[in-house]
Amino acid sequence: MLPLTLTKVLKDPHQYLGGTDLKITLPVSRTLLNEVLAARPADVPVNELLIDPEAGNSFNLHLDVKAPLIGSVKRKITFEPGPAVTFPGQPWLHFEITDGFRLLDKPIIKLMQGQIADRLPKGIELTSDHLRLHVPALLTSAGYQTLVPLIKSLRLTSEANALVLNVHFVAEQN
């Protein structure tokens, strides 16, 4: 259970934090990222999931998934993070898939696009070309919808051994 103070802030951040204007740069190391991925729920049908951030703003995702009929599928997918999320104009955190799919992967993904969309949580979109996260939808589904208007910009970039999150929070005064 959250402390009363935090509950109140989450309910109306402008009332309690009005006047706050904060820029945060948060580099998250490869080790910590993989700790986060390792802590995924046990029912996620993934045998292996590892992330490998590289210099030059791209990162690799090593995954071994259990697919129906064909069994285990191993891939190393390369993602390139896109531009900053800004509200309300650009709410998607975009990752271009630049490498890693084999010959038949893309046609199969296109064929199964509807099923993939149905199985993914609301706010996550995966195609054969990109992965997109709708930040307001994900925050809302996690119960933090009041924080959405505070985020003036949010950007994820990759450097050697770390993903770097840059966030600009502003809470206007009521």
């Binding site: 402390p3 103070t5 009005g18």
Partner: protein, 99 residues
């Protein structure tokens, strides 16, 4: 404890090295007072815990204990920390990072 939290504590947050924070944090008087009440409630709840009847053996190890504050402060690099009060709130200008 969540495994990610445990990892952060066990490694004294070294996987977040390079973190920077810059700007202004404004906290309303009401929030400060709620925080004080939360703190006092926590102290009271701690004091209300019954004392053990017999001395319990020391734990074999204390994994994932809270990080050593001295080590954490040594990692902290504060360039600016200015506190001021305004009508109905306190304001802190901060520029700091984790080395």
């Amino acid at each position: 404890m969540h495994p990610v939290q445990k990892h952060l504590f066990d490694t004294n947050f070294k996987d977040l090295a390079g973190t920077r924070i810059e700007g202004t944090i404004a906290l309303s008087d009401e929030l400060i007072n709620l925080g004080i009440m939360d703190f006092l409630t926590g102290l009271k709840n701690g004091a209300a815990s019954p004392a053990p009847e017999a001395p319990s053996p020391a734990p074999a190890a204390a994994p994932s204990a809270l990080p050593d504050p001295k080590q954490m402060l040594a990692m902290l690099n504060v360039e600016t920390l200015k506190f001021r009060s305004e009508a109905g709130r306190i304001v802190v200008d901060v520029k700091a990072g984790i080395a």
